[in-house]
């Protein structure tokens, strides 16, 4: 499985995806509508070779660096309510988008998507459905959940700290005389500059920008 080659025609890309899926998820059907690529079928929640549950889903696939794939549960099993992490439009909210976007190309294949976030999401839902306590904690809804995730991303806490950190990361260069985001009152060069420069090598500017934009408006795609 290789990462996306840039600017490939949707029909050709759909064929590639169908091939990639065939190895592990032969049930899915990939098709195109205009420039959009849809993956449809019943998702099997697999564990040690057995199917524990199935969900009818539709994925609007995206190879983009700035957009995540969109997932809808089309069987009507999961209500569109906050506690189930379904938006009112029927969109499943698997993660804070930047957590996916931050992965390397090689870790953003369709198989990674299904084996990781999608399987996790439905395991969580299957347990919830059976009245079980969730296997792991969900994120807080809306902006607080974003702050939590971005805080983990930058290794700092607190709204103003995280925001400032993301702002610095969205700049071409972080200057030593800027006040440190941690709130120590020191300049970055005397405080977290090394940490910030390390982050810069891991978090591209467009991710910092999208994170900042999302903090202002969590609903942007």
């Amino acid at each position: 499985m290789k990462a996306r080659a840039p600017k490939i025609a949707p029909e050709a890309r759909a064929k590639e995806l169908q091939n990639d899926l065939g190895l592990k998820y032969p049930d899915f059907t990939v098709c195109c509508t205009g420039a959009k690529i849809y993956i449809r079928g019943a998702f099997p929640v697999l564990h040690e070779g057995t199917v524990l549950d199935r969900y009818q889903i539709e994925i609007e696939w995206s190879d983009s660096d700035t957009e995540v794939p969109l997932l809808r549960e089309t069987g009507g099993r999961i209500p569109w309510i906050a506690d189930r992490h379904m938006s009112r439009g029927g969109m499943a909210c698997l993660f804070v988008p930047e957590e996916w976007l931050l992965r390397s190309r090689e870790e953003k294949t369709v198989i990674h998507y299904l084996d990781g976030p999608v399987r996790n999401y439905f395991l969580w839902q299957s347990l919830y459905d059976r009245g079980e306590s969730p296997p792991w904690k969900d994120r807080a809804h809306f902006a607080p959940g974003l702050l939590e995730a971005y805080g983990e991303m930058v290794g700092m806490e607190g709204e103003s700290t995280v925001r400032c950190c993301l702002e610095y990361l969205s700049k071409e260069q972080i200057k030593g005389h800027w006040p440190c985001p941690c709130g120590s009152g020191k300049r970055t060069r005397d405080c977290h500059l090394t940490h910030m420069r390390e982050l810069q090598s891991k978090i591209p500017r467009y991710i910092a920008l999208s994170a900042l934009a999302r903090l202002t408006n969590p609903t942007i795609k």
């Binding site: 449809r40 564990h47 524990l52 889903i57 309510i81 059976r130 079980e132 296997p135 969900d138 994120r139």
Partner: protein, 300 residues
């Protein structure tokens, strides 16, 4: 277990027993829906009857539904002047209690309860108007396609499928369709299967399925399939045409899968676990997740 025994075990796993929670829930919703429609359209005394996959004998656990027809007398206008008015008025009435999804001719009912919003009730209400006093043929509204109205006959459809002699094949192919996310209209798909298997009614189930898939793979376009409720009037080919390419490709890959890996790769292993066992396996599967992605929510 030979192939046909395996296919029978798949079918068995897709049964929904009369005392299942799913069917009990369906019955209770059905009562509510009927009461709502009767109250709302008391002046028009609609005919409300039930069909769907259970009546036709094609029910599968993974995708089941109940069709509730709500047909008004041919000379009634209280429920609406035109078919479109009827469709919209019935939608309005149902929307007081349900979240309603507008499908081509049917209105799909989902929950409006804030605790379970949009959860599917598996009920399609099909509004329409009888063509005459005999209350057999009816016109239903179509909000997609060239024709705004479709002539249909509830009993003829149910009978045609029920007495087709190929119910097992229909159920398995429906499961295939659902698992692969194929979007062809179920009633057109059923009529297509009956058409393709007209001379294969006595063949083993595995031969029937392979025959259907081979036909889907090898035909460059959908065959002309007549609607038994309106043999000269309704053109089902257009419904099949739109999805033919994906039906055809998927059928081809299914046949290749049977060749290379056998039938179990098509419908999967048949697992029979109690719900307690299921929960235990789900728990251990969740415990084995090394990087749990935490679900989030961007908006209400």
């Amino acid at each position: 277990m030979n192939t046909n025994e395996y296919l029978q075990s798949v079918l068995k796993s897709q049964d929904l027993p009369d005392d299942s929670d799913e069917l009990k829930e369906l019955q209770s919703h059905r009562k509510d829906v009927e009461a709502l429609l009767r109250k709302h359209f008391a002046a028009s005394s609609p005919t409300i009857r039930y069909g769907g996959s259970r009546a036709k004998g094609t029910l599968i656990r993974e995708y089941y539904d109940l069709d509730a027809i709500c047909y008004f007398p041919h000379d009634d206008t209280a429920a609406g002047e035109t078919l479109e008015d009827i469709y919209n008025n019935v939608e309005k009435a149902l929307s007081t209690t349900y979240y309603v999804d507008r499908k081509t001719s049917a209105l799909r009912l989902k929950s409006r309860d804030p605790q379970s919003f949009a959860k599917d009730f598996h009920i399609d209400v099909v509004p329409g108007r009888f063509t005459d006093d005999k209350k057999a043929d009816a016109f239903i509204y179509q909000n997609a396609g060239d024709k705004k109205r479709l002539k249909t006959n509830f009993d003829v459809h149910i009978e045609h499928v029920n007495e087709s002699g190929v119910l097992d094949a229909i159920r398995l192919l429906k499961l295939w369709k659902v698992r692969r996310g194929l979007r062809v209209k179920q009633f057109a798909f059923e009529l297509l299967i009956i058409h393709l298997l007209a001379k294969k009614k006595n063949s083993p189930l595995s031969d029937q399925l392979q025959h259907v898939w081979t036909e889907l793979r090898d035909r460059s376009e959908a065959p002309a399939v007549a609607d038994p409720a309106n043999p000269t009037g309704n053109d089902l080919t257009s419904l099949l045409k739109a999805e033919w390419a994906s039906l055809s490709t998927t059928a081809g890959s299914t046949l290749a899968t049977i060749q290379s890996s056998g039938w179990e790769s098509v419908f999967g292993k048949v697992e029979e676990k109690t719900s307690a066992q299921k929960v235990a396996v789900l728990r251990s599967a969740a415990a084995a997740v090394t990087v749990p992605t935490r679900p989030w929510l961007p908006e209400v």
